[in-house]
Amino acid sequence: MNGLTIILSLLVIASALGAVALRNLVHCALCLMGVFLGLAAIYLCLDAQFVGLVQILVYVGAVGILLVFAILLTRGGGAELSPFFSPSWAIGAGAAALLALIMVAAILKTDSLPAPDAGGAELPTLAQIGKRLMQEDVIVLEAMGLLLTAAAVGAIVLAMPEPPPKKEEEA
């Protein structure tokens, strides 16, 4: 990890904490965008150009916008009114912190992680990724397309305004 990635990591963690802990939902969403952008930058630093750019395109351009719309449509633009701290909050936060502790400890304790191949192996090019997507993983790609279509249709159906209840049922 060089200096740039450390700075980015700190930025990502800070943004993530902001996204989770801020009172105003729109701020949360904007912080989440920060996490996404930071992660994309980390991906770029890890030479994962395609994935990083897709991360920005999909997460910032699509998921983020969706989130923001959902927040506004559920009147979440204002500040949250209910109290922040509560006993259940403590349980949840404690469980998360405990898990974090265990995982970090486990990672740091492990010293048998594989080292990168020193042979200077070439990273996959974009053309290779494309070939892989269109040839070997084409079934997965098709399935993904199907999934996305189904998700889009399902989302539209779910969010469609319900027809007004009929008069007879009301009466």
């Binding site: 990890m1 990635t5 990591s9 990502v12 963690i13 993530a16 996204a19 989770v20 939902l25 949360c28 989440l32 996490v35 996404f36 992660l39 980390i42 890890l46 030479d47 994935v51 991360q55 999909v58 997460y59 699509a62 998921v63 969706l66 989130l67 959902a70 449509l73 559920t74 979440g76 949250e80 259940s88 909050w89 349980i91 936060a93 998360a96 898990l99 974090a100 995982m103 990672i107 740091l108 992680l113 990168p116 192996a121 990273l123 996959p124 290779q128 990724i129 892989r132 997507l133 997965v140 993904m144 999934l147 996305l148 189904a150 998700a151 889009a152 399902g154 779910l158 969010a159 305004p161």
Partner: protein, 103 residues
């Protein structure tokens, strides 16, 4: 601490922050944000292992992330549509008030 370990720690922390959001925040959208964070943490793991693992030229990690991003997009679309539908019916976006199945 190796570089890989650093990214793994970052990933673990990101995951737990997301988990914390899912476990503590009552707003559904925040829970979804937490889920997104957890997904991103997993993606980061994939990328880190793919780049800093023993076979940098293997593409499985990259492919996984690409598909995972697509799945995340689908998940966000359906999840947020569900949130909107539930909000329209219950007039609330709070998880603790969505307890129609309460025993």
């Amino acid at each position: 601490m190796t570089s890989l370990q650093g990214f793994l720690v970052l990933s673990a922390l990101l995951f737990c922050v997301g988990l914390g959001a899912v476990l503590t925040r009552r707003n559904v959208i925040l829970a979804l944000i937490g889920v997104e964070l957890m997904l991103n943490a997993a993606n980061l793991n994939f990328i880190a292992f793919a780049r800093l693992g023993p076979h940098p030229n293997a593409m499985e990690g990259w492919m996984f992330v690409v598909f995972s991003i697509a799945v995340a997009a689908a998940e966000a679309a359906v999840g947020l549509a569900l949130v909107i539908a539930i909000y329209r019916r219950l007039r609330t976006a709070h998880l603790d008030q969505m307890d129609s199945l309460k025993g």
